[in-house]
Each structure stands twice: as structure tokens, then as C-alpha cells.
């Protein structure tokens, strides 16, 4: 499908990922042992032959640039089309970088206009899902919608989720943005939209001129009667993260086989930056249960209900439970981690017992030695 382009927002304006996004965009947040969040979006697009992709960044985008490079790992180093990364944009008249998605898109209207594609997918990058955009497009044409918004069913485990109200046909009749966590399963917007490029440009221009900032509030909520907005329910598992709690919960869901099958295989493979790690070696004292282990690890201790990223070293007598250890973590003998998230290159020296709590995992920031 070559008639669709895409615009990806690398950072969420109101993200509460705190320590984990101190040095990076949400898009480049490590997930699932060897991925960054943006890998899901990029792979879904490429698997549906969508190759004109603009990525809008807001701040701290060097880790994202380092991850994407020329886009070769997603087969996006193309002569025509490919990835364009937009550094933070500030217009002459304002002193700060763009406040919301509308202002950010207004800043790149030239790029959007120049693209040869007639349709556009606008997406956030705090989403892990395996989506067939060919099917989304077909449904969009079938329903005759102006905007198709992707959705999934889940409990709103965090605030600021867009809860969709729709009629039997799937046409959106209204939406509200939650302020509270609820136990009721609802249809939740994934912040992924498909619409005609010409419509997007009109909407962005007119909203910007009226001082609109937020795509969801100014367009999805306000124009629900004026426009035909239709939902598309993503068939497999979908995950959205916006704080440490949801990041931890969604990560741990990957230990479920069905979730892994949905996310990693449903419509196509998920590609990421190739690092040429060696296979993981299990030594004689290794005891690993219910865990997801990336390549390049060296395990001689206990690992349970955990996710180890590439190149993690677990020494004899150490114990990792209910934790996420990112790339090149090193746990020395007789130390333990329980409900802990360690960012990249964290070293836990000998005889340290570190634990968080199920509802409040402890985060250890990048490059720290404890």
C-alpha cells in the first residue's frame, strides 16, 4: 500500500515516565528485551508497505537518532521515501517548541504537502501492537469515514485515556478523556488515526488558527458531529504506556504466550536495530523460570518472572525476581532485585538487596552503580 504516509510523535506531551524518559523520547524507551517502542510502529508501517515516515521530536532525541540511524534495520533507507526526523521546531514568533500535536504538524505542513501519498496515519509512539494497516485502510474506505481512529478494549489503567462512545456501526458519537483509573473494560483510543492528507492539512490549519493545540480535544472531541469518525478495533493485544506503573504492567504481560504471539507475530515481524549479540549462555548455576531473555546474556544465578535485555550478566548467587533489567545490566554475586526496573548499564555490586513493590516498582536510572 503505497498511498499512505505516516507522522509519528516521538514524545508524549504529558508523559509521566519520569526517570525512564529523562534522557530519551518515549519512542526510544526500551521494551520487551530488545526493542524500543517505536519499533512496533515502524515495523507495522513497513509491513504494510508504508515507507514515507516523518518523526516529530520534542526533546532529548539523540537516543532516537542513534536507534534509527538511516532506517536500514526497517528497510527504510530508500531512494524515494524513507524516514525524516524533525528536530524540535520553534516558529519565529514563539520562543518555545511546539506545545501540542497540532502546532507540531502545522510546523511541517510543507513536508506533508510535498509527500505524494493521499492518506496519512498519525500516531503516538507509546504503543505496542501488531497492526495490519492494509486492513485499517480497507475498513476506512468501506465505512466511508473521514477519520478512522484505532482502539482496543482494556481497563483504563492510567489517567488521560480517551474512552470512546460509539453506535452499533462503530461510528464515534463522543469521547471523554479519563481522569481516573477504573476497573471497567472500555473501548480506548490508541491515538492512531487514518485520514485523507488533505483533510488533515485543513484541520491542522483551521485549528492552529483558532489556537487549538491538542489533536484529541480540538479535533476528535470537538468535531465528532461534523466529521464521520469511525473506530477500528485492533484484533490482537495492544498496550499503551504512560507512566512507570503501566510500563511495568505491560512489560510483564509479555510473559504470557498469547500476548507475545499477538505482539511479535500476528501481522508481521517486529524489526529493531541489529546489535550482533551472541546467544545467551546459561552456566551451571543458572535457574531461570518464566522469563523473557534477550541475546548476549550470561546467566549463572536465579531469574524468575523477569525480563532481561541484551548483554545482562547475572552472577552466581544473585537473584532477579519480578524485575526488568535493561541492556548491559550487571548483577554481582549475592545481590538481589525484586520489583526493580534498572535502566541501561546499571551495575549492582555484591551483597545488595534492592526491592520495590508490585504497584510501585523501583527505577534505577541509566549508568548507575549501586
Amino acid at each position: 500500500m503505497n498511498n499512505i504516509m505516516s507522522i509519528i510523535f516521538a514524545s508524549d506531551n504529558e508523559s509521566k515516565l519520569n526517570e525512564l524518559t529523562l534522557h530519551r523520547t518515549t519512542a526510544s524507551l526500551p521494551v520487551g528485551g530488545r526493542y524500543r517502542f517505536i519499533d512496533f510502529t515502524l515495523s507495522n508501517l513497513v509491513n504494510s508497505q508504508i515507507t514515507t515516515i516523518g518523526i516529530i521530536t520534542k526533546s532529548n532525541y539523540s537516543s532516537l537518532m542513534d536507534h534509527i540511524r538511516m532506517g536500514r534495520d526497517w528497510d527504510l533507507n530508500r531512494k524515494n521515501s524513507g524516514i525524516t526526523v524533525f528536530p524540535p521546531y520553534a516558529s519565529n514568533t514563539s520562543r518555545s517548541v511546539s506545545k501540542g500535536k497540532i502546532e507540531a504538524m502545522y510546523g511541517i505542513l510543507d513536508y506533508i504537502e510535498k509527500a505524494t501519498e493521499d492518506y496519512v496515519i498519525v500516531t503516538n509512539s507509546n504503543i505496542a501492537a501488531n497492526i495490519d494497516f492494509d486492513d485499517v485502510y480497507n475498513k476506512h474506505i468501506e465505512t466511508g469515514a473521514d477519520i478512522t481512529m484505532l482502539s482496543y478494549f482494556d481497563k483504563p489503567t492510567s489517567s488521560r485515556r480517551v474512552i470512546i462512545e460509539s453506535d452499533e456501526s462503530g461510528r464515534v458519537t463522543g469521547s471523554r478523556i479519563t481522569q481516573n483509573i477504573s476497573d471497567k473494560t472500555e473501548e480506548i483510543g490508541l491515538n492512531i488515526y487514518l485520514l485523507k492528507k488533505s483533510l488533515l492539512m485543513d484541520l491542522v490549519t483551521s485549528c492552529y488558527e483558532r489556537g487549538g493545540v491538542d489533536f484529541e480535544k480540538s479535533i476528535i472531541q470537538q468535531k465528532v458531529d461534523e466529521l464521520h469518525i469511525h473506530t477500528y478495533k485492533v484484533p490482537g493485544h495492544a498496550a499503551m504506556i504512560d507512566d512507570i506503573k503501566t510500563y511495568f504492567e505491560e512489560s510483564m504481560r509479555l510473559l504470557d504466550k498469547d500476548v507475545r504471539n499477538d505482539l511479535f507475530y500476528a501481522c508481521g515481524k517486529i524489526f529493531t536495530k541489529v546489535k550482533d549479540s551472541v546467544p545467551t549462555i546459561y552456566r551451571n548455576k543458572a535457574k531461570v523460570k518464566n522469563s523473557l531473555i534477550a541475546d548476549g546474556c550470561d546467566i549463572n544465578g536465579v531469574v524468575e518472572n523477569s525480563i532481561l535485555f541484551r548483554g545482562v550478566k547475572v552472577e552466581e548467587g544473585s537473584c532477579i525476581t519480578n524485575s526488568i533489567v535493561m541492556e548491559n545490566g550487571h548483577v554481582y554475586p549475592n545481590s538481589s532485585l525484586d520489583y526493580v526496573i534498572t535502566d541501561k548499564n546499571v551495575t549492582i555490586t555484591e551483597d545488595k538487596k534492592i526491592s520495590g513493590f508490585e504497584t510501585y516498582p523501583l527505577v534505577i536510572v541509566k549508568n548507575k552503580t549501586i
Partner: protein
């Protein structure tokens, strides 16, 4: 097109059939055989080249080339997608005086003289695609230049017993070669040729052309080119290599080389970041280890699901291991499915094979008298089937 001169061009002989690997090379060339969980044998010479700053490589293919061609592709995984140089797959081709298969190792290079000439190199490095080792070819090239040699042959010290299985270089104290013996019954020395040669291109070019004119020649480096150069008094030197080097041309040696990866003292350290071995990536998620799994002294890689017991084994990408499975002392190649309750010992399981429920494959054997069972690529072992040690299933 832009080509500039290259000091040294590598020519990798990858056309051999590898008959002693039986069904593992039925559908693909030996250099494309899976190794060490996520590698192919050819990753070792290709990675050695790029790590040695040799960026122009011709890969000579002939037997079952499709998979190998696809695997090498544009050479990007080895950083060999270059504007000038890079990796080139060279199958036999038609010329205005007819066409020929590659008749021997020397003939394969002879037929590609034009390819080498395009880069106008001073030296040519000849490699083969059936060994596991890490070697800095640039040091060997320095040695070749320092000695002012016409040909330098890499040698490794083997035991007296092993020596009669190799080509043996008999050398003077200055390492110059005075005699070459192919598989001698009573070896005079233990310097075994590793099948790695550096030639001064001008010299090799001349000998290749002369060898081609000799209709009785078998057009082989070991049998013809090296002896001819010795007879003519050319300067041949032996370059001693110290380190891990293993021919993986037989079932037992391929099995042993995989097992060596589990032994810290074997000398083959894959995780040495100073000399990475590169491979084409399969885009699989991390492997999952279930509650019922036990994994000890083993290598496991991406895309695997482990529900059973794995000991002393190398498990390749995408392998699915069911509950109550026991895998001991095995090399399981990519995308194998092993159903619940199967037991596999001392076995190489080829890619995409399927082992049925409660099947029993192979058995514990003596390391001095290895009887490795082989399950061929795509082969199916039925439920409850028993495959005795050392047996092969196609």
C-alpha cells in the same frame, strides 16, 4: 562505476558440496550450514575479513547456491555493502569460448582472474568456507610482506596422529617451506595447512594460467599450484597460527565445534567484543523460558520457547521445546519443533525438523567414539519413534 585499487582481495571458496555432512548439505552449500545458535559457517571467514580491514571479497559458489546467495545478499550484516569493493557472489559463467564448472579450487580462481584484476591488487587471500576460527588476516599479510614471500600458507600445529589427515608443510628454521606433503603416512612435521593462503597476485596469476594449460592437472591449490611453485624455487613461507581452529566438515567435528562454544577453555570465545562475528539477523523476539524449564551449560538464542530440560546443548533461533522434553549434548538448528516428552541426546537436529511426542533420538556415547545421530533438515520423527545413537533420519 568507481573502482579503485585494493591492496588485498579475498577469494572465498564456497562451492564445495560437503558430502560428509550428509543431509545437512543436501539443499545448501556447506558454508551456509547453521552453527553456534545464530551463525552460519561462512560468518566466520566473512567477519574475519572485515575485522582484518579486508573489504573486497569474492565468494565462489557452485553447489546449491541459492540459500548462500540470499544469505550473503548485499553483504550489509558484515558491513560489506560498499561503494568500492564489498562482497560479490561469483558463480561459474559463460565465456565466449564456452563455459565450465569450477573444476578445482585453482580453476575457480582462474575463471575469475578478470574479477580480481578489476581491483588491481598486490595480494590475494584465498579462504575456504568450512572452518570455525578467529584470525587477523592483516597480521598474516604483514608477515607475507616482511618475508618478501610469493606465497604464505597459514599452518597450525597438530598432533603427530592427526598430521596424516592434513597437508603438511615441512619448513626450514626461517619458516620457508621446502616440501609439501598431502596427507603423509609418516609426517616429518606437524605444521598442518589451514587452507588459508596469501599470494602475490602477479605470481599466482601466472601459475593459474600455466596450470590451466596443463590438461593433466586437477587444478587444485594443494595438489598443483603449491607443488609447482615449490619446484620452481618460489618463496613459500609458513605462517604459524595459534588459536582455535576447527574443520567442521564432518558430523562429529561439527558437533564438537558447537560443544566447544560451551567450554570456557576451548579457545573459541564468541562474546569477545574486540573480534565480533556478524550474522544476518532473523528479527525474532527474546527467548522465553517457562516455569517448567531447566537450562544448564547451554547456549539459547532469540525466538526460542523452552518448556523442558536443556543441558550441554546449543539451541538455535526459533526452536520450540515442549514440556518434559530432555535435550542433552545436542546441537539443535533453527526453527526445530520438539514436542512434549521427547528425549534427544548426542544429536544434530537439522533446521525445521519436527520431533514428535515422546520420541527417543540418539543416546549417550563415549566422547572418544562419537556416534552422533542426525535428523536432517525438514525431517519428521514420528510420535514414539526411536532413533538409535549414530543413526541418520532424512
Amino acid at each position: 562505476m568507481f573502482t579503485s585499487n585494493k591492496e588485498c582481495v579475498a577469494m572465498l571458496l564456497a562451492g564445495g558440496q560437503g558430502t560428509r555432512l550428509y543431509s545437512l548439505t543436501r539443499d545448501l552449500a556447506k558454508p551456509a550450514v547453521s552453527f553456534g545458535g545464530k551463525y552460519r559457517i561462512i560468518d566466520f571467514p566473512l567477519s574475519n575479513c572485515i575485522n582484518s580491514n579486508i573489504d573486497t571479497i569474492g565468494v565462489l559458489t557452485q553447489y546449491q547456491p541459492f540459500y548462500l546467495n540470499q544469505y550473503i545478499g548485499n553483504g550489509q550484516p558484515w558491513d560489506l555493502d560498499r561503494l568500492n569493493g564489498g562482497v560479490f557472489v561469483l558463480p561459474p559463467y559463460m565465456k565466449n569460448k564456452g563455459s565450465d564448472w569450477y573444476k578445482g579450487t585453482a580453476n575457480a580462481i582462474y575463471q575469475n582472474i578478470q574479477f580480481v584484476d578489476r581491483f588491481n591488487p598486490q595480494y590475494v587471500l584465498i579462504l575456504s568456507g568450512d572452518h570455525i576460527y578467529k584470525m587477523d588476516y592483516s597480521k598474516m599479510l604483514d608477515y607475507h610482506k616482511e618475508k618478501g614471500a610469493d606465497c604464505t600458507i597459514a599452518v597450525i600445529n597438530v598432533t603427530k596422529e592427526e598430521a596424516s589427515r592434513f597437508g603438511i608443510m615441512n619448513t626450514n628454521p626461517d619458516n620457508s617451506v621446502y616440501e609439501f606433503e598431502e596427507k603423509p603416512k609418516n609426517p616429518k612435521s606437524t605444521n598442518a595447512s589451514m587452507g588459508i593462503y596469501i599470494f602475490t597476485w602477479e605470481k599466482l596469476r601466472k601459475y593459474l594460467i600455466e596450470d590451466e594449460e596443463d590438461k593433466t592437472s586437477s587444478n587444485d591449490f594443494g595438489k598443483n599450484i603449491i607443488p609447482n611453485m615449490l619446484n620452481d624455487g618460489q618463496k613459500l613461507f609458513a605462517y604459524s597460527f595459534e588459536g582455535y581452529w576447527k574443520d567442521v566438515g564432518t558430523i562429529s567435528s561439527l558437533w564438537e565445534a558447537n560443544m566447544d562454544l560451551l567450554d570456557e577453555n576451548s579457545g573459541m570465545n564468541l562474546s569477545d567484543t574486540g573480534w565480533k562475528i556478524y550474522a544476518r539477523n532473523t528479527a525474532e523476539p527474546p527467548h522465553y523460558v517457562a516455569d517448567d524449564a531447566t537450562i544448564e551449560n547451554s547456549l539459547v538464542t532469540e525466538g526460542c520457547e523452552v518448556n523442558g530440560v536443556v543441558r550441554n546443548s546449543v539451541i538455535s533461533s526459533g526452536v520450540k521445546i515442549g514440556k518434559n522434553v530432555v535435550i542433552e549434548d545436542c546441537n539443535i538448528m533453527p526453527n526445530v519443533v520438539i514436542e512434549d516428552g521427547a528425549e534427544i541426546r548426542y544429536t544434530i537436529v537439522g533446521p525445521n525438523a519436527h520431533i514428535g511426542k515422546n520420541a527417543k533420538v540418539g543416546g549417550v556415547c563415549n566422547k572418544d567414539n562419537l556416534k552422533i545421530a542426525v535428523i536432517g533438515p525438514n525431517a519428521v520423527v514420528a510420535e514414539d519413534q526411536v532413533v538409535p545413537m549414530g543413526e541418520m533420519v532424512d
